[in-house]
Amino acid sequence: MEIIEKIKTNKSNDYLTEIQKICRHKLQSSPLPNPKSELWRLSNKSKLSNFLDYTFNEKDSKFDIPYPKNPQSTIRLIIGENCQIKLIEKNYSIQQLSEDELQKYIKEQISFFKQNENWSDLLNLSLSCKNHILGLKINGSKIPPIEIFSHASSNSLNAKTLVIFLEKNCDVELLQVNLGKENSSLSQSTFFCLKENSSVNHGVVSYGENRSNLLNSLNVIQQKNSAYNLGSLHFKFNYARFEISIKQSAGNAKTNIKSMQITKKDEQISTYTKIEFNGPNGFLDQINKSLADDKSHAIFEGSIIVPKIAQRTDASQLSRNLLLSNLAQIDTKPQLEIIADDVKCKHGATISQLNEEELFYMRTRGITLTEASKLQLSSYFQEIISFIPISKDRWDLLDKLLNEN
């Protein structure tokens, strides 16, 4: 594969040189993930190979944001375009991270990376270039909502990286939008560091066009008393993986995750989450929803790791899945790994189809089957969409899901 050769030869002459060297070294023994490993065994091999088949592109074509007019209060950034930002206001500041800060943080993160577990990040950083990395340091309160866009140009593979530091006591709403253009592959890696008492409502909306692919990875470190709320939605990708890794580095932190993937045609979209509690009194409330139709395949694998130090952890994980077609399939694997004894951990999983009794009830009230199905689906989607910040009022995500898809 051309891209694998590219990883080996890609050499930049800036602060990224060393990072690329480490990543390349980690990928050296086997440049592709082991298809037998737990994290990759369900991944469609030909789709992954198709992801890597596009030509690597360091330059973006002109990008028109396909969304409603930007309200004045929102800060909008596009990775690869207007990466220069320095906003210092009375209550808050948003500044770019220096090259030193970026290098130090990324190097620290990749030192723990493993070939299979963090393959998406290793690929991303091996291909990274200065223009496609955005590093932000956010401080203060009453910060206007932030929207950050990533996209891949048609017929090419783009790698975009986002690093965000939330300083102490900071509170922010941030929406990340990943757009897959026709016949494109986007590798998006995000690194989030929440310092003490900070809080974020993070939305990730990824949607593609015809034959677009996405490898989206999200690495979050939560310090004490921080709150991380994630609402995510992935749809219309031929092949997409969303890998979430959250570490509560000293416990006493709160994590809420509501994620959803919707697959149609012959798409494969998967969500992998790994939540580690490295301190006591951690909290997690997670729900993942999947909907699979036509010949598609939706996958969820979530693991909760509670070591001995994480006493009094309260974690719950729920995987709810709707299977709408005879040819579609759903795989789900919620898992718990617990050593601490004074914990409350639970998980649940269900796979079913639309509730027939509810459909029947609506039809007896004169609602057509199509409308009744839509109503049921909209309530299924609503729980997730309402958790995504900023988006819900302006973007008609629900309409997109119910009608366009």
Partner: protein, 480 residues
């Protein structure tokens, strides 16, 4: 506040089945190769098809790799350092129990297994397996009157070769996994049960497996066939002496249920688990699988796993027949340095099939207890349902409990529900019981027993009482 040490103290009872029977045994040399397999087959006077089956399995085994996906850590097993056949020396052919070596009878007597006449009153037919051979099967005549065949698999090979040839390896093929292939190559003895059409087995059938030799492995094979509209309840028990070496136990159990047939398979596994330092103990790698071939057939697994240093066991059901039912009820208790990776697989292939999984894991000491299960709905499993519940209880802050459920559905018109939880012995509940005058140990025992109630309710009467007692004993000293 619960005192950590006092709960731990509740669990320390020495392993009471750890004695060794001093009996002359016939052993073959250590190691595994084609000649050894031929020798085992020759000793058992087996027909050619069985030798071919063994040799084919051995070839497959040689090409396979030992699985490493389970959450288990153990030192590498040297398969050439194991004796694959060991049998107590006794007269060639035994016509009645009186001819069995009294030492063997005494051994089983000590274990509480009703082989001798006076204990036959318990109305449970027993097949007792000592190392590599079956030494006695009780109640055979009474069972034969109903057409039920209950004998050791070696006898079945001689007397019912057609049934063995037809069914052996159809549920667990030799190539199924590493340990199944090993077992298929070297299996020594085990039980064979055949319940004819329309017969409800008049008594519970039971096999008791005893490992006596420290350097030989036990590779038994059990085959149960329930013809149309028949039913049987089968119990299995296991113990071993205390050796400071690890002994390998790799068994295969195959169940076949035809139309409207029902098989209930219950196990109380109490192999020697090693000492507190983790020295010695049985490595228990078992493949158990049932095939619900017929319409409305039912296979129910219930197990209480308290022994073994390592447990690797996933009793499964292949639900092929329309409206067939699979059940799995399990209690797995690990203490000290024991490790258990156990669970089930429910593969729904036929329409309107149903399965229930209830798994209770209790980890104490420094042990590791994992539930690993698969529920799969195939494309033709319309109207099928599964319900799984996996609860873990942690005792002490050194033990670990893991849950790995794999769920896969390819059929929209089916429903899967899974839930799992982890908790510890509630201090409030302990305090409440103690304030009512109940001793601490008893209170812990009651709570553990209550935690496992859903599973114990599924065990046959004799086993339920034994399991309850066993759990209380095993837990002594581990609850704090």
């Amino acid at each position: 506040m619960v005192n950590e040490n006092s709960v731990k103290d509740v669990v320390k009872e020495p392993y009471k089945y750890g004695f060794i029977t001093d009996i002359e045994t016939e052993k073959i040399e250590k190691g595994l190769n084609e000649d050894i397999i031929k020798l085992i087959s020759q000793k058992k006077e087996e027909p050619k098809f069985l030798l071919d089956f063994r040799l084919k399995a051995f070839k497959k085994w040689q090409k396979m790799k030992e699985p490493d996906w389970a959450a288990l850590g153990y030192k590498k097993i040297d398969y050439q350092d194991i004796i694959y056949y060991s049998a107590p020396k006794q007269k060639e052919k035994i016509s009645s129990l009186d001819e069995v070596d009294p030492k063997l009878l005494e051994t089983f007597d000590k274990l509480g297994i009703p082989l001798t006449e006076q204990k036959k009153l318990t109305n449970v037919a027993v097949d007792a397996v000592f190392d590599s051979v079956s030494i006695a099967t009780t109640f055979r005549e009474e069972l034969a009157e109903h057409g039920v065949i209950f004998c050791s698999i070696s006898e079945a090979v001689k007397n019912h070769a057609d049934l063995i040839e037809k069914y052996l390896g159809t549920v667990v093929p030799a190539s199924d996994n590493y340990f199944a292939a090993l077992n298929s190559a070297v299996f020594s003895d085990g039980s064979f049960v055949y319940i004819p059409k329309g017969v409800t087995c008049p008594m519970d059938l039971s096999s008791y497996f005893r490992i006596n030799s420290g350097d030989s492995g036990q590779f038994e094979r059990t085959l149960i066939i329930a013809e149309e509209s028949s039913s049987v309840s089968y119990l299995e028990g296991c113990t071993a002496p205390m050796f400071d070496t690890n002994t390998l136990h790799a068994a295969v159990v195959e169940l076949i249920a035809l139309d409207d047939a029902s098989i209930k398979y219950s196990t109380v596994q109490n192999w020697y688990a090693g000492d507190e330092e983790g020295i010695g103990g049985i490595f228990n790698f078992v493949t158990k699988r049932g095939k619900c071939l017929g319409k409305r057939s039912k296979i129910s697994w219930s197990q209480v796993e308290t022994g073994s240093a390592i447990t690797w066991k996933y009793p499964s059901c292949l639900l092929l027949g329309e409206e067939s039912v699979g059940e799995f009820y399990s209690v797995a208790l690990t203490n000290n340095l024991q490790q258990a990776d156990t669970g089930t697989k429910m593969i729904h292939i036929g329409p309107k099939t149903k399965s229930t999984i209830v798994s209770k894991g209790i980890s104490a000491g420094n042990s590791k207890n994992s539930y690993r299960g698969l529920v799969k709905m195939g494309t033709k499993a319309t109207g099928s349902r599964n319900y799984s519940q996996c609860d873990s209880m942690l005792i002490g802050d050194q033990a670990s409990a893991n849950t790995f459920p794999y769920i896969k559905s390819q059929q929209p018109n089916s429903e899967i529900e899974h839930e799992a939880s982890t908790c510890r012995i509630s201090e409030d509940q302990l305090f409440y019981l103690q304030s009512r005058g109940i001793e601490f140990e008893e209170a812990v025992s009651m709570m553990v027993s209550g935690f496992c109630r859903d599973v114990f309710n599924q065990l046959p009467m004799e086993f339920a009482a034994e399991a309850d007692k066993l759990l209380a004993l095993k837990l002594e000293g581990s609850v704090g």
